[in-house]
């Protein structure tokens, strides 16, 4: 008896915890949403490519048609499959897809987001489930470039339209279209900026993503293509910190004790923020420049504070928005381009306010 009461008490405490978590969740979501709203439409506006302009024209047409037709036709549905939901980048991406989908009329039950929890088996069964439930179009941010190909083919066979987001799958022809960034050009854009700032000479270190990941491989390739033209720049160390802030901090600290460094170039902002902290603790903020990729809000914040020098935006909101537009177009039988690549924009102290204002 006594034991039961105690077990009950224990469960009650756990429940209370979950309840607390739930309450603050709603609060944070609204905060995040407002932020997303504020930042949406940032896009990569400035240097919009011709290809993109065409895309937005297509999108406008689709919108007009849809709204006229929507009343008598049955309601169409769309689903989004995210690889995971645990960092700022994926959150921004998914909220921009959701926002655009809602604007296109996919509200309530007709728009669902699935969290793949970084597990390919989970994502595949989620896709299968949605297809079984009769979804019309799906957007997939893949956990694995190979693992989901079959699920994509099965979905297409069942008549579901498939948009791949952010990372290409190994058999991209299996899907209808791809929307994303080109990591190689992003890496190159960042490294070009670094070379400009260093006047083409000095020692740099690189903080890489998980070895072999799409982002790491592409961005490193971009780095190397630019570095090949600067023989006076030496990469004295280059290692993975797994996108992790705390790991990047430790690694940078170790490098700082052993070498004379002019710049730390990280492949995402999370690691750059960690590196900036290590540089600051060593009292070298004025001497060492720190760069990242993604233009997440913590990275932009570090640029404002002077901890970081620059970051590259891969047009995250833009990617999300375009993927929802294309998915809707496909559902309504329109043709779409096979591939849409978002534009890279380099942000430094000079132009960081442009993205923050929006």
């Amino acid at each position: 008896m006594k034991k039961r009461i105690i077990v009950g008490l224990f469960l009650a405490v756990s429940l209370m915890m979950t309840a607390c978590g739930g309450a603050s969740d709603s609060k944070t979501t609204t905060a995040a949403e407002t932020k997303a709203e504020a930042e949406a439409t940032t896009a990569a506006g400035k240097e919009a490519s011709t290809e993109k302009q065409e895309v937005s024209d297509v999108v406008k047409d689709a919108k007009a048609e849809q709204f006229s037709g929507a009343k008598n036709e049955e309601k169409k549905s769309m689903a989004l499959f995210m690889s995971h939901m645990t960092n700022e980048f994926v959150k921004t991406l998914s909220s921009s897809v959701q926002k655009e989908a809602e604007e296109l009329g996919y509200t309530g039950d007709s728009f669902k987001i699935y969290d793949g929890k970084n597990d390919v088996a989970t994502q595949v069964s989620q896709i299968e489930q949605a297809v079984t439930l009769g979804v019309d179009g799906i957007i997939i941010e893949p956990v694995s470039t190979d693992g989901i190909v079959k699920a994509v083919k099965d979905a297409e066979k069942a008549g579901v339209k498939v948009v791949i987001l952010n990372q290409r799958i190994s058999d991209q022809n299996a899907a209808d279209t791809f929307v994303g960034a080109d990591n190689e050009s992003t890496g190159a854009a960042l490294m070009k900026k670094v070379m400009e700032d260093l006047d083409g000479k000095g020692n740099i270190v690189e903080l890489l993503g998980p070895m072999g990941s799409d982002g790491q491989v592409g961005r490193s390739k971009g780095f190397d293509s630019v570095l090949a033209g600067y023989p006076d720049v030496k990469v004295i160390a280059s290692d993975s910190a797994d996108w992790d802030t705390a790991k990047a901090l430790t690694l940078t600290e170790n490098w700082l004790t052993s070498s004379d460094i002019q710049a730390v170039v990280a492949q995402n902002d999370g690691m750059a923020v960690g590196a900036a902290q290590a540089v600051k603790e060593a009292g070298l903020t004025d001497k060492i420049k720190v760069y990242g990729v993604d233009a997440t809000s913590d990275g932009l914040n570090a640029i404002v504070n002077g901890g970081m020098t620059g970051t590259v935006s891969q047009g995250t909101e833009d990617q999300g928005k375009i993927s929802a537009d294309l998915c809707s177009n496909l559902i309504y039988g329109q043709s779409v381009p096979k591939e849409v690549i978002a534009t890279n924009v380099v942000y430094t102290k000079e132009n960081v306010n442009e993205i923050l204002k929006k």
Partner: protein, 315 residues
């Protein structure tokens, strides 16, 4: 002659540690051996060291705490949330982090002692629950934009030489050693870990002891979370994945038996220092992090083997 040999084997872990330091000093006299870097090693051992001290209490008492890494994340997020509010006294984020740790420790302790769940299971459950709570509370991305004083908790150095992190580490290590060796409470921790039935028969309230041991581990994890949040000036919900394993590794390398009831506090300190030494030394030598994992695994196995062999011979 014979006595000397036994002594040497008894301190296998110290020997491994010192040999490693000497090797690294020879390989990298200009970088590794610099005083600034040696301080750096201790600094990088600090967070894991604090966690390991908490873990040591639990393991000596015959348990384990897999939720430690998740607690680091949640308490860091809680602290960052509070520190985000400008003008709030700096003590609130500190209490928030410690309180979070204590609460999770309380739940773990209740589960392990009173609901009689195996410690591995209850802390596996809280590991998942607490990580989820950290992700929900933070909305999945780091909480940043903290008031500047918050950085002073862990990001500063005393006289620009000794990082304050090192001081926390030493204080907590000495405190843990004092509790374990010089107090009745400490002796009871060993007693319940060695044989809980004997301990119960001899009048120790085993359940309440276990509860308190888990709370200690929770609070130490909360401290570690606070320190990381202050160092990185953000509360990240994804930080600390696998930290519990590093803490367990430090404890085990230090000669604490996984079955409970034995182990010395200074062994754990050496264990934490050894792990930091490996990653610092190999980073400086330019060894890729993938190879580092292999080397780390080998050193853990060798260190524990030497330690066990030493104990067998001396027993």
């Amino acid at each position: 002659m014979n006595r000397k040999k036994i002594n040497f084997k008894n301190y296998g872990i110290f020997v491994v540690f010192i040999v490693l330091v000497i090797i690294l000093m020879i390989l990298s006299p200009n970088a590794f051996a610099k005083p600034r870097n040696l301080i750096n090693v201790v600094k990088q051992a600090s967070i894991n060291g604090v966690l390991a001290c908490g873990m040591m209490f639990v393991i000596i008492a015959g348990g384990i705490d897999l939720s430690a890494g998740s607690v680091v994340a949640l308490s860091g997020v809680v602290a960052a949330y509070l520190a985000q509010m400008q003008g709030i006294p700096i003590i609130l984020p500190i209490l928030g982090a410690l309180g979070t740790g204590a609460l999770i420790g309380l739940i773990n302790g209740f589960g392990a002692a009173y609901a009689e769940l195996p410690p591995f299971i209850i802390t596996l459950a809280t590991m998942s629950i607490v990580r989820g709570a950290a992700l929900i509370l933070s909305g999945g991305s780091p909480v940043f934009g903290l008031q500047e004083q918050f950085e002073g908790i862990a990001g500063i150095s005393i006289a620009n030489v000794i990082p304050i992190l090192v001081l926390y580490f030493l204080l907590i290590a000495v405190f843990s050693g004092f509790i374990l060796n010089k107090t009745v409470f400490g002796r009871h921790v060993y007693a319940i870990g060695g044989n809980s039935i004997t301990a119960k028969v001899s009048g120790i309230n085993v359940k309440s002891m276990l509860l308190r041991v888990y709370i200690i581990c929770g609070v130490f994890s909360g401290i570690a979370g606070l320190l990381i949040a202050s160092r990185t000036m953000q509360g990240s919900p994804t930080v600390g994945v696998g930290y519990e394993m590093d803490a367990i590794a430090a404890v085990v390398i230090g000669g604490v038996s996984m079955s409970g009831g034995s182990g010395k506090w200074y062994g754990t300190i050496i264990g934490a220092l050894l792990l930091a030494l490996i990653s610092n030394g190999l980073d400086i030598l330019g060894v890729s992090s993938n190879f580092q994992q292999i080397i780390k695994g080998i050193i853990i196995a060798v260190a524990v083997y030497l330690d066990l062999r030493g104990k067998k011979t001396s027993a």
